[in-house]
Each structure stands twice: as structure tokens, then as C-alpha cells.
């Protein structure tokens, strides 16, 4: 059986140059499907990772009860003190809580690539913000000064938006702000933001209410105690979430959409590719019906014919899958893109075409090849030998 299959498969493969046009239908159809699938999944992966990297299990974020994102939340000054003094919040050497009451606002900045305006988050942060988020490092320039209209800008924002380089001036709410530093925070969502002193930002936006309080906990296990205290306090109506849970929720909707795009659009394209493969393999079987009948007459078994058609469909699909995966890797891997996040602001993230995604794409390609080869293979096996010989 193995010798028979090898012989027929080798013959089939050698005849591909005579059927190069129809063979390309499988290869190109599958390559495009895999490229689209892998690149959209890389987007899902990149976006999820960016938001997942933003949180730490020993940090908690407090929003007004019922608020799904910071933009729709408000917390009074009195309440921020209650929150920061709650049990479970880590204290610094001076006994002060490591926490930051913050506000976020949206400003429009031109994108470097297109020049069109896109929303960017301006975050007002407290004095303890860098202690709270040790992942934030100033990589160029310096930290902003309190009570001065100065901003630091995330590295991802610098790569995506114009006019945010150190020394640039940004105007919003009729106030002029100077960019004095650039920071990195491990590629998380904050790296897409501009940050300034909370009191100065509040005054520029003529607000007196904060939108969130983020606290460092004594340990991840202290979360329950902290949450219990806040949610049972009758003076507070707040939602308390671990930071990773909060950012996972923020990415859920977009992830759903991107997954739908990947598997919806990819699925439709896969169906198209299956029909392409079916068509190609039916043509291949039809073009070789005399050869198949002759081999069957000589004594080659139907099983060997079925396997050989399958192997050909699989090999062509594999070539398509490899081309598609390579194209996705070449054109999309490492690309930085931005999309609208939960605060109606842009989140900048990196597309990473991981080996896992490449393998998934190739598995899809093989799946398409198997389905595309199945019916033509059955047809080839059931070809009545005498009839096929006579038709010649």
C-alpha cells in the first residue's frame, strides 16, 4: 500500500507543472485565507497582551458603582481619602498609602501615518503614581513638575502621534502644555497616554472630581479585605476590581469583534478556499481519470488512489498555508497599530505573529486541504475502471 501510494503520489506531483494554473487556485486561495486569519489573530493577540500587561494582581482600581470605564466614573475628593485609607492598601516608608487618584480626559492629536486626528488619553496622576506603577520609566527628558502645565508622553504615543515629541507644545482647553519627558511602561496601555499632574489637569478641565483611584495592595491576597471594606461602607458606592480583571473587561468587546472578524471573515474565505480546492482537485482527478483507470487496471488499489489525491491536496494546501503564514509574518509581525479602546481613546499595540498563530494558520490550511480533497478523492476511488478506460 505504501509503495503504491508513494508511486501514485509521485506521479501526481510530477504532473502538477502541467496543471500549474489550477494548482495555483488552491495555493493562492489558501495563502490569502491564512494570511488574513493569522494577521487578524495577531491583532487580537497584540491588543489582549497590551491590556493584559497593564494590570498587576496586587493592584486594584476603584470606580464609581456601575461604571464600566474610567471616563464614565466620578469619585469625590472625600471618597478618595476613604479609599486610600482602607485596609489592605500598601503604605510607604512614611506610612502614606501607595495610591493615585486620577482623572482621564480625551484630546485629539494628529496621527503620524495619516495626519487624521485621533483621540488620546491625558491622564492626571497623583504624586505616588510612579511608586504605584514601577513599570513606568522615564526614558528621555524628565518627569513633569507638580502645579506646572507639563506632560510626559508614552513611547507608543510618540510613535503614533505627531506633535508629542519632547519640547512640543500641546493645547487643550485653551491651555498650553509642554511635553517634558517620554516614558515606557513595558508596552502596556498606559504607554499610549499622556500624563500630567492631577491637580493641574483637573484645573485645566475645570473639574473637581476624580474618576478612579488605583491602589497598591499589601499583597494580591489583600484584595478581598480591601474590596469588602469599600463595598460595605455605606458612604461609598464603588466597584472594586483587580487591575488585570478591569483591563480584561476593557478588551473583551474589541476582542469579541476581532475574533468575529478573524473567524467570521476567515471562515467565509476558508469556505471559498475549500470550493477552490474542490474545483482544483476535481479537475485534477478528471484530467487524470485515464491514468487512474489504467493504474487501477494494472492492479493499484482504490485506497492508494484516495490517499494520493489527499496527499496532493494536503501538499498544495500546505504550500498555500506556508506562503500565507510567511506573508502575515513578513508584512504584519512587529507592526504597531492603534485602535479605539474603552475610554474612546486610542490604544497602541504591537502585532505579534507568534509561532502558535503560524501553526494555527497552517492547521487551517491543512483542514481546508482535507475538505477540498475529500470528495475528489472519493470520486477518484469510485471511478468505474472499465467506463473510464472506454471514455478515453
Amino acid at each position: 500500500m505504501f509503495k503504491q501510494t508513494t508511486a501514485i503520489t509521485a506521479m501526481n506531483l510530477r504532473s502538477i507543472p502541467q496543471r500549474v494554473g489550477t494548482s495555483w487556485v488552491i495555493v493562492i486561495g489558501i495563502a490569502v485565507t491564512v494570511a488574513v486569519l493569522v494577521s487578524v489573530l495577531a491583532m487580537v493577540d497584540g491588543f489582549s497582551k497590551t491590556l493584559a500587561n497593564t494590570g498587576r494582581a496586587d493592584r486594584a482600581i476603584v470606580l464609581r458603582g456601575g461604571s464600566v470605564a474610567e471616563l464614565s466614573s466620578t469619585i469625590s475628593r472625600d471618597n478618595t481619602i476613604t479609599i486610600m485609607d482602607a485596609p489592605g492598601v500598601k503604605k510607604d516608608a512614611d506610612g502614606k498609602p501607595i495610591a493615585s487618584a486620577e482623572m482621564v480626559a480625551v484630546v485629539a492629536l494628529p496621527q503620524r501615518r495619516t495626519g487624521t486626528a485621533a483621540n488620546v488619553t491625558v491622564r492626571g496622576i497623583g504624586a505616588k503614581a510612579l511608586e504605584l506603577r514601577p513599570e513606568i520609566h522615564i526614558v528621555a527628558g524628565r518627569m513633569f513638575q507638580p502645579a506646572v502645565r507639563e506632560l510626559i508622553v508614552g513611547h507608543s504615543a510618540v510613535t503614533q502621534f505627531k506633535g508629542v515629541d519632547i519640547g512640543s507644545h500641546i493645547t487643550f482647553r485653551n491651555t498650553d502644555w509642554t511635553v517634558v519627558g517620554e516614558f515606557e511602561s513595558g508596552g502596556d496601555a498606559h504607554e499610549s497616554e499622556l500624563m500630567g499632574d492631577i491637580e493641574t489637569v483637573l484645573s485645566a478641565f475645570r473639574r473637581n472630581l476624580f474618576q478612579s483611584v488605583t491602589v497598591m495592595l499589601d499583597s494580591p491576597a489583600a484584595f478581598a479585605q480591601f474590596k469588602d471594606k469599600l463595598t460595605t461602607d455605606p458612604t461609598l458606592t464603588v466597584d472594586v476590581k483587580r487591575e488585570p480583571d478591569y483591563y480584561a473587561e476593557q478588551s473583551k468587546q474589541l476582542n469579541k469583534l476581532l475574533n468575529f472578524l478573524a473567524f467570521g471573515v476567515g471562515g467565509i474565505m476558508a469556505i471559498g478556499a475549500i470550493f477552490g480546492a474542490l474545483n482544483t482537485m476535481y479537475s485534477a482527478v478528471s484530467a487524470r481519470s485515464l491514468e487512474i483507470a489504467t493504474l487501477r487496471a494494472i492492479g493499484f488499489g482504490a485506497g492508494a488512489v484516495v490517499v494520493s489525491v489527499f496527499v496532493e491536496a494536503l501538499l498544495l494546501s500546505l504550500v498555500g498555508g506556508l506562503i500565507g503564514a510567511a506573508a502575515a509574518w513578513l508584512f504584519f509581525n512587529g507592526n504597531t497599530v492603534n485602535t479605539l479602546g474603552a475610554n474612546f481613546t486610542q490604544v497602541v499595540f504591537h502585532l505579534t505573529v507568534t509561532p502558535h498563530l503560524l501553526i494555527s494558520g497552517i492547521i487551517w490550511a491543512c483542514f481546508i486541504g482535507v475538505l477540498g480533497g475529500l470528495f475528489p478523492a472519493i470520486r477518484a476511488a469510485r471511478l468505474p475502471v472499465a467506463t473510464a478506460l472506454r471514455a478515453a
Partner: protein, 229 residues
């Protein structure tokens, strides 16, 4: 000599839509081992159908088909394929060579169904090509061969596994007279010198003259000659 092919009361019908057509009617024939039989008759007389039954490419609707000591009408498709590989060499009108394979690779095909080693297969292929006088064209592909040479390669392929029976369907139908005579001489030589039993379908009375017996079919029945060839 003992009969190597024996058909008893064979009926073969085909269904085309709602119509059933009986192609062979209660046919009984016997062909002795070492015989060279020409099956003749007008188009539609059932000669290719009969040849397909003898070669195990088709099954009768009724009746018995015994070839090479086996009741082949009762074999499954898989068993028939193995039986054909062991007992039958086919020669077709249009040669049916694999266009992408060289002459020697074409001839080697039936040997891939045996347990012979690569070296043994090579030796047998060379022997078969030598018998048909084409050892020097072993590396050529079918497109590089003339019609007569291609048919010789096809005969070498039919011979190479040393089958019990050679089944030839219009082997000279695509060749000019001179080349056809060369092929028929070759078949005659294989019959006389190598003892091969040959059953050949032909329209050509001159081709039939090379056979030792002729069976004439008309409307699915033997009309002339002997049922015991």
C-alpha cells in the same frame, strides 16, 4: 491443453436511465492456456465488454467467469485488483502510458505491486524492454517515442510481472500498417516463444490473422468459430 479462461452462461446488462441493455447473452467460451485468440465483431457486439470480463475489469450480471483457476466474478473490487496484478497484463489501443514517467518507470509500475527489491525490479524492467526491442529507449518519456515504440513500452509493461494472460484491446488500432504488423509479430512471438496466452480485441481482419483462433461476436453472441477456442 487446459482452459485458462472459461465463461459459462454469462449475461452482462447495462442500465442507461430507465432502459436496461443486455450486451452479452448467455455466452459460454473456453480459451486454452498458451492460445492466441482474436475477438472480432462489429461495434457494439460486446467484444470489449467480454474482454473486460476476462481481464477482471468488470463483473457479469449473471453467469460464471473462471480465469487462471479462480472464479473472478465472485471477487470483491479489492480482491479483483490484486488478482489482476498477479494474472493479467493489459495492452490498450492508445497505450495508456503515464506521460510524466520515462519508459522504464512506466514498465516498472506493475512491479511496484510485488515484493521485488529495487535492483530486481530494474533487472526485470530491462529484460522486458529488451524483449520488445526498446532497451535503448528506457530513459525516454512517452512524448519522445513514436506510436509503435509507445505500444512496445505498453507491451513491456504488460509483460514485466510475468502475467498468466495478456489482454489486448485494439493494440494496433492507432498504428499504421507497417507498425501494426511489427506489434502483431511481437505479440505472436510472445505467444509462441514465451508461451503467453493472449486475448486480443480487433476490428482488423489482418490483425486477427496473427492469432491462432478467432472468435466472432455479434449482438452479444458467438456467431462463428468455436466456443472452445
Amino acid at each position: 491443453m487446459s482452459a485458462i479462461v472459461s465463461l459459462h452462461n454469462v449475461v452482462k446488462t447495462y442500465t442507461r436511465g430507465k432502459q436496461t441493455v443486455e450486451v452479452l447473452h448467455n455466452l459460454s467460451i473456453e480459451i486454452a492456456q498458451g492460445d492466441f485468440v482474436a475477438l472480432m465483431g462489429p461495434s457494439g457486439s460486446g467484444k470489449t465488454t467480454l474482454l473486460n470480463l476476462i481481464g477482471g475489469l468488470d463483473r457479469p450480471s449473471r453467469g460464471e467467469v473462471n480465469v487462471a483457476g479462480e472464479r473472478i466474478d465472485q471477487l470483491s473490487s479489492g480482491q479483483l485488483a490484486k488478482w489482476r496484478a498477479r494474472h493479467v497484463g493489459f495492452v490498450f489501443q492508445f497505450y495508456n502510458l503515464m506521460p510524466m514517467l520515462s519508459a522504464e518507470r512506466n514498465v516498472e509500475l506493475p512491479l511496484l505491486l510485488t515484493n521485488l527489491s529495487g535492483a530486481q525490479r530494474k533487472q526485470n524492467v530491462l529484460a522486458a524492454l529488451t524483449v520488445v526491442g526498446l532497451a535503448d529507449r528506457a530513459k525516454h518519456k512517452p512524448a519522445e517515442l513514436s506510436g509503435g515504440q509507445a505500444q512496445r513500452v505498453a507491451i513491456a509493461r504488460a509483460l514485466v510481472a510475468d502475467p498468466t494472460l495478456l489482454v489486448c484491446d485494439e493494440p494496433t488500432g492507432d498504428l499504421d500498417r507497417t507498425t501494426a504488423d511489427e506489434i502483431l509479430h511481437l505479440l505472436q512471438m510472445l505467444n509462441k516463444d514465451h508461451g503467453k496466452t493472449i486475448v486480443m480485441v480487433t476490428h482488423d481482419p489482418k490483425a486477427a490473422e496473427y492469432a491462432s483462433h478467432q472468435l466472432h461476436l455479434d449482438k452479444g453472441q458467438l456467431v462463428e468459430g468455436s466456443a472452445h477456442a
